[in-house]
Each structure stands twice: as structure tokens, then as C-alpha cells.
Amino acid sequence: MIPAPAFLSNPERFMAFSRWAAPLFGAIAVVLALTGLWLGWSAPPDYQQGATVRIMFIHVPAAIMASVVYVFLAVASFLALVFRHVLADAAAEAAAPLGAGLTLLALITGSLWGRPMWGTWWVWDARLTSVLVLFLFYVAYIALRASLDDEAKAARASAILALVGAVNLPIVHWSVTWWNSLHQGSSMFTPGALAPVYAKPLYLMMLAYLSAFGSLWLVRIRGEVWRRRAEAAAVRAARA
């Protein structure tokens, strides 16, 4: 059994921790986003992209979070499937709708950037296609969970699906390296690839999205804990 911090393995302690952590992460996200947007909208237009560089501050964090959230989903699914951590399955279930929303957001904002820059809304390019596949894995996970009444079977089947979908993550990440892609290569984590005037707001927005996700994830996991308590109470009431 992998040792986990008490607040992650004990629902009571998790509820106590998340009660103050969720609003704190939310407040941090708001401060980071306002600062990032202020700096981003104060930066000069890019010499090639013009004003469309402003879309990068909302598109790139959404695209990175799309993969990051799936990593959380896959790790939580692994812990639920193999080690049967109490909260891991709830964490996986709670992450899926947030990941799906962020992935869809990345696809739409990317399309709104691509039209003026590439001259097309969509192209079956390796990066775009692999992110679309990522979105479909999120949707499939949510649909599979919703389709099975038996909680244990739903947890097991969806965890296996989540782990299968994790194969797509390296494809998303290295798609711009492995294939001749219209999508630009990785610049956010390449030193010197971004001018500081764009890098600072982009990093702040990245942290804002991460903090916002942390807050919403905790709120959703709390909801899952309440749901399971409600269903357990309903079963007890039916047997009484």
C-alpha cells in the first residue's frame, strides 16, 4: 500500500482540509488571473501574430491543463484500481468533467487563433487530432461511469479506460516533434523561446488555471463524498 497523506486517505480529514483549501485555491486563482491578464493585455502585439497573441494567454494554459488533468485522472484511477484508496475513485470521477471542459476550451480557443493565423479553423494535424482524442477519452470516461448502475463495476471499468487513455498523453506531448505538424513546437518550457513580456503573463495564467482546477477539483471531490454518503444512508434507510 502506498502511504498517502492523511487528508488524502481519510475522508473525514479530507473534508476538513478541503473546506479551507478549496476557497483558498480559488482566491489565489483569481489574483493570479487578474495579474496575468493585466500584464498580458499590457504587452505589445506580437510582430508576427499581432493582437492574436492575447489568445495564447487563455489557450495555452487550457491546453496544458487538458493533459495535466488527465495525468491526475490516470493516477487516481490507478490508485483506485490497484490500491483501493478510499478517495482515489472519487478524485478520478471528479476530475473527468473538469478535464473535459478544459480540453474543449483548448480546442475552441485554438481554433479561434488558428483561423486568422493559419487560415483555417481546423486541420487534421497530429497535435490537434491527439487533443481531440484526449477529449473523446474524457467523454467516454464520463459516459461509461454514467452507464453502469453498479458503483464498483463503474469504478473498475472507467479506471481501466482511463489507464488505456493515458497512452495518448505522450502522443499529445510529442506530436509536434514526432510528426511534421502545422502546430508550433513547445515553447512554454523551452528557455528563451518566449520573450519575457509574453512569458510572465503566460506563466501566471498557467498557475491561475492550475489553482482554479485545484479549487474546483476539491469542491467536486467533496460533492462525490457527499453523494456516496447519501447513497449509503439511502441503502441503510431502505433496509431498516
Partner: protein, 48 residues
């Protein structure tokens, strides 16, 4: 100083920001509703 003049790209930039704002409103409302609904239900059932 803020530069809100996006010129000919307004038709792409403002919708991108509007959709992002809408997405976050939906994600926040969804998470809060989900949590509140089940908390209320659990409390109702456990008080019976």
C-alpha cells in the same frame, strides 16, 4: 498600460475570451451545484 485595441482580430479574440469566461462559469456553477445538492441530500437522509 492596457491595450484593448485588437483591430481586425476582434472577431476572434473577444469570442475566445467570452467562451473562456463562460466555460469557467459553467465549471464553477457545476461543481458548486453538485456539491451542495449532495450535501443537502446526505444531511436529509442521515437526519431521518
Amino acid at each position: 498600460m492596457l491595450d484593448l485595441d485588437v483591430g481586425k482580430y476582434a472577431a476572434f479574440i473577444w469570442p475566445a475570451y467570452a467562451i473562456t469566461a463562460l466555460a469557467f462559469v459553467v465549471l464553477i456553477a457545476g461543481a458548486l451545484n453538485h456539491s451542495r445538492r449532495w450535501k443537502k441530500r446526505a444531511e436529509e437522509l442521515s437526519s431521518k
